[in-house]
């Protein structure tokens, strides 16, 4: 690949706007080199810079007494859970790569989120996956679903993290653009959390793990490109995951941190070496000089542009300690991993790269990153024109269909039906911490060397958000909270994966703005922080945009084993419904989908005070030993909730609805 001359056309071809290209020239005081253009195009892509979303993400509640690392500061969110332990967690999307190659797309998605967690010194103890496809009757969707599940299993099982739950939703809104959101949860000692900010002029910069190839180039910009046949020739950028190498990377990284041999570590996700080194430098207020000749390459004839932007998997950037280089390399050799010193932390604020002794990149690091020079946009947004008509359409349901038939139809909907076929392919017990297995409301894992347990739930109802993104996002937070409370835990924080359409379309961006507002409002009501997450825009294809889907990944905590509420019940117990159902609300419901198809009307109203009161009531009843099991009423309503409890326990139930 010979280096083309850099001009406006080439910048536009890289997804930069004319105004952004001019800003780069202004920053550098000259035309950027080809490598520098590539670096700016990736670092200023939507995926890395959050340029359309940061204005609204800043308004989310990020404080909290337990918060150890605020959203955006480190590789993942970190909360203090007491007894000297911290929980490190995050959720991220790998939607576009999975649409192209489902197995590897999903597998590398899991690999990336695991690295975010263990680069901070936390051993991953649980993984969850939130998946959305088109209708299961379509063979192409079956292919995607099958490949994604096998990819998650193939990677997670070999790496050795239990995949303990998640959700799988099928709706034609996702037929052109599946959603694969992967979440990882890890535990670290509070005193030993490894930052991602470089420090210490003269400290060595190492690359640990896999060799570098041409895979995934344009991965970051690619994630910000609408899926169209035009993107077909980008297919060669498929990244291949190596879970065995990732397991060695985990053990080596934890050992390096344990032995105090590093000052900062960041995994190489989107934009590989470029993103990790520039973010580490900018974050630490220092410079970094990289000698690209030293980077171990997998393919011959690679040029600086490719080395800097390659997204080869299973690689870490480590800032070592001057004088301890040999001990660091020894740990890598023990775990049979490549390790190579490729640079040094320097005075000043420049990100410099050499190739055959020649300077090919000399950029002020800060100008590349979010919060530094990366552009921030105030995109226009407008309520979709057709939404009023949809919202005002009466969604009450009068039908002469037999309710039992409808209940059976609901239970056989793929989104509601049992997911045993999925989670039996996941090793959900490795790590011997799984207390509540997949299939229930929330997964529950114990935290070894403490008396604590962590409940994990991922939730979002895209149909509710399509009707009203604000209420839909609040429902997503409340639903996650209901799920963690159902196993006896109290919410302590969330991560989120915001899957939306094209932010340059005002109607699509309105959905994003309203959803973020709703999510913030709900978190403030529950008094829990948003510890970070991921924004995935451009989820559109020829079939149009997906439902707005702000997926919430929530953690709840249980302080002692007696507080666990299991869902295994014995006969002759009383069934009690908490909360009123004062008026029928079918807007966006699954019953509505069966009878009428696309969602219309308004989503069910939500009263956060009542939600929190219900939650407190359940936990106090639990404290008095009055509760044997608890299950939240969600998709499909009361009938489905009761049926699920009976199915889980091979029991029947007789129900009388009081007349009053």
């Amino acid at each position: 690949m010979i280096e083309p001359t850099v001009d406006l056309a080439l910048a536009i071809g890289h997804g930069l706007t004319e105004e952004e290209f001019r800003k780069i020239i202004e920053i550098l005081g000259r035309t950027p080199t080809f490598s520098e253009l590539g670096i700016y195009s990736v670092m200023w892509s939507e995926h890395c810079s959050y340029k359309s979303s940061i204005k609204y993400l800043k308004r989310l509640p990020r404080e909290g007494e337990h918060v150890l690392a605020k959203a955006g500061e480190e590789n993942a969110g970190a909360l203090d859970i007491g007894e000297g332990k911290a929980v490190i967690f995050k959720i991220e999307s790998h939607n576009h790569p999975s649409a192209l190659e489902p197995y590897q797309g999903a597998a590398t998605g899991v690999g990336g989120i695991l690295r975010d967690v263990f680069s901070m010194g936390a051993r991953p103890i649980a993984a969850m996956d939130s998946l959305r496809f088109g209708e299961l009757s379509d063979p192409k969707q079956q292919h995607l679903f099958n490949g994604v599940v096998e990819g998650i299993a193939g990677y997670g099982n070999c790496f050795g993290v239990p995949t303990v739950g998640g959700e799988v939703v099928f709706d034609k809104a996702y037929s052109g653009n599946c959603l694969v959101n992967a979440m990882a949860v890890g535990i670290a000692d509070t005193g030993k959390i490894m930052p991602a900010k470089a420090s210490g002029v003269g400290n060595p910069v190492f690359i640990l793990g896999a060799t570098t190839g041409r895979d995934g180039i344009h991965g970051a910009t690619f994630a910000s490109v609408e899926l169209s046949d035009k993107s077909a020739e980008d297919r060669s950028s498929v990244q291949i995951g190596d879970p065995f190498l990732e397991k060695l990377l985990l053990e080596a990284t934890l050992e390096i941190i344990e032995k105090g041999l590093a000052v900062a570590i960041q995994d190489m996700g989107a934009a590989g070496i470029t993103c990790s080194s520039s973010e580490m430098a900018a974050g630490g207020g220092v410079g970094i000089k990289i000698d690209l000749d030293k980077v171990p390459l997998r393919e011959s004839g690679m040029i600086p542009y490719e080395i800097l932007l390659s997204e080869s998997q299973e690689r870490m950037l480590i800032i070592g300690k001057k004088g301890l280089e040999d001990s660091l390399c020894e740990v890598a050799r023990k775990w049979e991993l490549n390790i190579e010193r490729i640079g040094t932390v320097t005075e000043g604020d420049r990100f410099k790269c050499l190739w055959h002794g020649e300077l090919v990149c000399d950029i002020p690091a800060k100008t590349l990153v979010l919060g530094g020079g990366a552009p921030i946009y105030d995109r226009p947004y407008i309520r979709p024109a057709g939404l009023d008509a949809i919202n005002t359409r009466n969604s009450a349901i009068e039908t002469d269909k037999d309710p039992i038939e409808l209940l059976e139809a609901l239970l056989s909907m793929p989104s509601i039906a049992g997911k045993r076929w999925v989670f039996e392919q996941y090793d959900h017990q490795v790590g011997t911490n799984t207390v509540i297995k997949p299939g229930g409301d929330a997964a529950l894992v114990r935290v070894k060397e403490t008396s604590k347990f962590l409940a994990i739930s991922t939730d979002c109802n895209g149909r509710f958000c399509a009707l009203d993104p604000h209420v839909g996002a609040m429902q997503a937070v409340a639903e996650s909270a209901r799920n963690v409370v159902s196993v006896g835990a109290w919410p302590i924080g969330i991560t989120n994966c915001l899957n939306f359409g094209n932010p340059e379309k005002p109607e699509s961006f309105w959905q994003f703005v309203r959803a973020v507002e709703g999510m913030g409002e709900a978190c403030r009501a529950y008094n829990i922080p948003v510890t970070g997450g991921n924004v995935s825009f451009y989820n559109e294809s020829q079939n149009g945009a997906i439902f707005p889907t702000p997926v919430i990944g929530m953690l709840g905590i249980i302080d002692k084993p007696q507080d666990i509420i299991r869902q295994d019940i014995t006969s002759d117990l009383q069934l009690v419904e908490i909360g009123e159902c004062d008026c029928p609300e079918f807007g966006g419901s699954s019953l509505q989908k069966i009878l009428f198809g696309d969602p219309f009307g308004l989503p069910p109203r939500i009263d956060l005070d009542r939600e929190i009161a219900n939650a407190k009531f359940i936990l106090s009843a639990r404290d008095r030993g009055l509760i044997e099991a608890c299950h939240d009423i969600s998709d499909g309503g009361l009938g489905v909730a009761l049926a699920e409890l009976c199915i889980w326990n091979d029991l029947g139930a007789s129900i009388e609805i009081p007349e009053d």
Binding site: L248, E336, Q429
Partner: protein, 239 residues
């Protein structure tokens, strides 16, 4: 009693095995790195589950060449007790310490679920405190758990009584219906002719504490303790 848990690159149930011995059984355990030799004070060795070398080429294909395997073979030859769990079982087969091989599950899917296994004998080091015919509930988690041996080998291990565990139903009935992966004769675990090396696909370390959903796995580890105590009154190596 001191248990040595071998760690190959890619083992991922090593921590679980150590925890089960220390917290489930209340005995001592330590890791043995695949490049080291086994020190003499170990009473039993566990080759844990996982994906040694990523299961590339074949499950356990490379682990058997690790330096530690030489001393595992010596330890077994002198009568030392060895348990290979899941990937560990595959390593024992590749190393020729147990007969037969493990191929892909019949339905070509990874399976993680609880299964029932029936103890066929209660006179081995691994089953002294498990009455014959007892049904144990223990989880499996594998893609290549389909035990295969040619007809001649199969009849030999059956006549020698080397089969220790068979997949079965809740009440102990052995039939194709309760065979999760297509293993010949529902074999879930077998011992060598001398009876001091056990390979099994189910994970006893995952059900050694009630909170995880079962304690039947601990009975196998407890049997070994019982066996060693009864034989010499003190923990001395050698069966």
């Amino acid at each position: 009693m001191l248990v040595g848990v071998v760690v190959f690159p890619g083992s991922n149930c090593d921590l679980d095995a150590l925890w089960a011995i220390e917290h489930g059984l209340g005995e001592e355990a330590k890791f043995i790195w695949h490049r080291d030799k086994i020190v003499s004070d170990v009473d039993m060795i566990i080759l844990p589950g996982g994906f040694s070398y990523g299961d590339y080429l074949r499950t356990g294909a490379f682990a058997r060449f690790s330096p530690v395997m030489e001393s595992v073979t010596d330890f077994a030859r002198e009568g030392g007790l060895v348990i290979g769990i899941c990937n560990g079982f595959q390593v024992l087969l590749e190393a020729g310490m147990l007969p037969g091989a493990l191929i892909a599950n019949r339905r070509l899917r990874f399976i993680c679920k609880d299964v029932f296994i029936r103890a066929e004998r209660s006179d081995t080091a691994f089953s002294v405190s498990i009455p014959q015919g007892t049904v144990l509930k223990i989880p499996i988690a594998h893609f290549c758990g389909n035990y295969f041996a040619d007809a001649e080998t199969l009849s030999r291990i059956e006549s020698n009584g080397q089969v220790l565990f068979r997949y079965c139903g809740e009440n102990g009935e052995v039939s194709a219906e309760f065979n999760p992966n297509g293993s010949s004769n529902n074999i879930a675990g077998l011992v060598n002719e001398r009876g001091n090396v056990l390979g099994m696909m189910p994970h006893p370390e995952r059900y050694s504490e009630a909170i995880l959903g079962g304690e039947d796995g601990r009975m196998i580890f407890a049997s070994v303790r019982e066996f060693l105590k009864k034989r010499e009154g003190a923990f001395v190596r050698g069966a």
